[in-house]
């Protein structure tokens, strides 16, 4: 009898059948899965999302653990003579180790790419994090309060969006970093210019959510306005925000690559994926294809992985989706 007192979660009708055959006097109570369990179940069924998130998490892992495993200093380019000092002959092809080395500037491409992945991810994830927080606060306040506050905030967003952001980034980076900004400066620039779409998204979500009856119910219960925005409305808007944030990581990765590639990004001696590509410009003409291909592949893997993951999250977090 004691297994009857134990609660058990039955997921499918077949399981229930089996359980009832084994214990005919089993007291069945419906215990439904919560939203998180349902979302995870939908996500698991989305194969591309699983592949994508594996790719992305793999890259994150490489970025975090990789530099610890490599023998070289993680913050600078590795001159080839150091490689020689480690007892290995200078090589000019990828066949010495898979990512190869270069002679002209004497860098080890594997070290560059591994460090570059870490730094590029740090910048883009950090920028996304800050931008999402700013965008959520601005959009939430704007959407809930409406009126002149909404008008002012949204006209600021419109005005900023009317400017081509990429050039704005270049100008800021030149102005703040004199062409050799630290990763932190670049991240802040991205964050300060990247919250606009999030603010618009959150505002539109809040505009529709604030008409829900449960908001009136909360107001009737005497709940304050900020608490209604941040505790009652935002959790309901969380899924689209998460999806947008995921996809914006990919945007920041490519933006960083672009900014660094045109020479306005982080100081050229710091290996981000964009800087590596910039360094590869001449090299590729001289037949050192691996210098450009491997960082390029890293960008593709991260961006593709994130996009698939975001796609899967979008389906999984949609509460109206079927199991």
């Amino acid at each position: 009898m004691d297994e009857i007192t134990q609660a058990r979660i039955v997921e499918t009708p077949e399981d229930l059948e089996e359980l009832l055959t084994a214990h005919p006097d089993y007291d069945v109570q419906l215990e439904s899965l919560n939203q998180r369990q349902l979302a995870w179940r939908r996500f698991k069924r989305h194969r591309m999302a699983l592949i994508g998130s594996t790719m992305f998490l793999g890259m994150v892992l490489i970025g975090i653990i990789g530099p610890q495993l490599l023998p070289f200093d993680k913050n600078s380019y590795i001159p080839l003579d150091q490689v020689s000092q480690n007892g290995r002959p200078p090589m000019v092809s990828p066949y010495f180790h898979p990512f190869g080395e270069t002679t002209q500037l004497q860098y080890d491409v594997l070290t560059l790419v591994v460090n570059g992945i870490g730094l590029s991810l740090l910048i883009s994830v950090g920028a996304t994090f800050i931008a999402t927080i700013i965008g959520t606060i601005v959009g939430g306040v704007s959407g809930y309060f409406g009126g002149w506050l909404d008008t002012i905030l949204m006209r600021i967003v419109d005005a900023m969006l009317a400017m081509p952001l990429i050039y704005l980034i270049l100008v800021f980076s030149e102005f703040l970093g004199n062409g050799s900004a630290s990763w932190f400066t670049i991240m802040l620039i991205f964050a300060l210019l990247g919250w606009l779409q999030t603010a618009r998204l959150v505002r539109s979500l809040i505009l529709s959510l604030r008409e829900e009856d449960y908001v009136d119910a909360a107001r009737v219960a005497g709940v304050g306005r900020l608490r209604i925005i941040f505790r009652h409305l935002l959790p309901n808007a969380l899924s689209p925000i998460i999806v947008a944030a995921t996809l914006s990581i990919a945007g920041f990765i490519t933006a960083e690559a672009f900014v660094s590639f045109v020479g306005y990004g982080i100081s050229a001696t710091t290996p981000t994926l964009g800087n590596i590509l910039e360094g590869a410009q001449q090299a590729i003409g001289q037949g050192n294809w691996w210098w450009a291909v491997f960082p390029g592949l890293a960008i593709v893997a991260i961006v593709l992985g994130i996009n698939f993951m975001g796609d899967g999250l979008q389906d999984a977090l949609d509460p109206r989706a079927k199991i």
């Binding site: 439904s32 939203q35 009856d213 449960y214 119910a217 107001r219 219960a221 005497g222 309901n236």
Partner: protein, 367 residues
């Protein structure tokens, strides 16, 4: 009911101001006017509503869609969006304070703690991302300043009080795991949880199926009696009013047209609109006959008729009715107020016609 008969104007010029003199009066609404300024003009959704409610008593507000009954409730709670809404005038005396003069901070303490509200749509009135325990305890924590554990225990108690089985397990569940009837019980438990002095129920049974409707009405009656709170019930359903409350107010086009005890108003209606509502109830005894309806439609809110708002549809109307608007008049011998010129000396001749029809209608229903 101590409004003076006031013949020509629905805005009581003689209106008393200041708190109600009778300390037993919990809620007194006087000359309340709520307007909405929209692109095409101004909608006077509530235009001079007066009623009062004593402690522990029950009042029903009836009227058809758009007559301003829900806006009245939202105005009392001050849940309107301003703009486009505007509270253009009036006083709402609640427990010795004029709610319209309260600073927002204090109004927030009144909501939930002193006045609770039950909504029409139980399916959408609970936040889908929180457990119902969280939602009930939120108000308890806010208003009674207890810790989370104590608040949860009180949430369980209030769920038990509204007859939800296994409340300890229910508090951990999400709204989507419950049926409409259970959710409405949860809403009632939420309303109860802070021991309010007044419960406003805005069409609490409209979204439920008929068998559940009866249960929920019974429950509302029971908790009202047990807790001693006053109840303001808003509905379009005369049967609900007849079963649930002691006093009622009939609203039409933003005004109270008749108010009094349920027995008086339903059995001896003193206003042609109330009479029209009563005669349009389908009844077994009228089987095969054509159903009486009130002719015409509710006036366009942008172009209200000049005199009595009901005059264009009223079978008893004469010239006087389209020239001036009657005030709420006390009916001699009854505890009823009616906004109709039939009760003035010059309406006396038509009054006999009216009484004949009224008696016939009510007798047909009672029989």
């Amino acid at each position: 009911m101590k409004q003076q008969p006031d013949l020509l104007d629905n805005r009581p010029a003689t209106a008393v101001s200041g708190p109600p003199t009778d300390p037993n009066v919990l809620l007194e609404v006087r000359g309340l006017r709520t307007y909405f300024h929209v692109m095409d003009g101004t909608v006077k959704a509530v235009d001079g509503v007066d009623f009062s409610l004593k402690r522990g008593q029950t009042l029903g507000i009836v009227g058809e869609s758009g007559c301003g009954k829900s806006v009245t409730a939202l105005t009392i709670m001050q849940l309107l969006d301003i703009p486009p809404g505007e509270i253009a005038g009036g006083e709402i005396w609640f427990d010795g304070r004029d709610l319209l003069q309260l600073p927002p901070e204090e109004m927030r303490n009144v909501r939930g703690a002193d006045i609770a509200m039950i909504f029409q749509e139980p399916m959408t009135s609970l936040n889908p991302v929180f457990t119902i325990g969280d939602q009930i305890s939120e108000a308890i924590i806010l208003h009674q300043h207890v810790d989370k554990k104590e608040a949860m225990a009180r949430a369980v108690d209030s769920l038990r009080a509204v007859g939800i089985p296994a409340p300890e397990r229910r508090v951990k569940q999400y709204p989507h795991e419950m049926s409409g009837g259970i959710r409405q019980r949860v809403m009632i438990a939420m309303a109860l949880s802070c021991n309010p002095k007044l419960i406003i129920a805005d069409e609490p049974t409209t979204a439920l199926d008929v068998t559940i409707q009866a249960q929920i009405l019974e429950l509302i009656k029971k908790i009202q009696a047990d807790s001693g709170a006053a109840l303001l019930l808003i509905t379009h359903d005369l049967a609900v009013v007849a079963e649930t409350v002691q006093n009622m107010a009939v609203m039409y086009a933003g005004r109270v047209v008749e108010t009094g005890s349920v027995e008086d108003v339903l059995l001896r209606p003193q206003h042609p609109y109330t009479l029209g509502l009563l005669s349009s109830i389908p009844s077994l005894h009228k089987r095969g006959q054509q159903l009486d309806v009130i002719k015409g439609v509710v006036p366009n809110p942008f172009r209200m008729p000049p005199g009595c708002k009901f005059a264009p549809r009223c079978p008893f109307a004469w010239e006087r009715c389209s020239q001036a608007e009657p005030g709420l008049m006390a009916i001699p011998g009854r505890d009823v107020l009616s906004r109709c010129f039939l009760h003035t000396p010059e309406g006396a001749a038509r009054r006999a016609d009216y009484d004949k029809v009224a008696v016939a209608t009510v007798m047909a229903d009672v029989r």
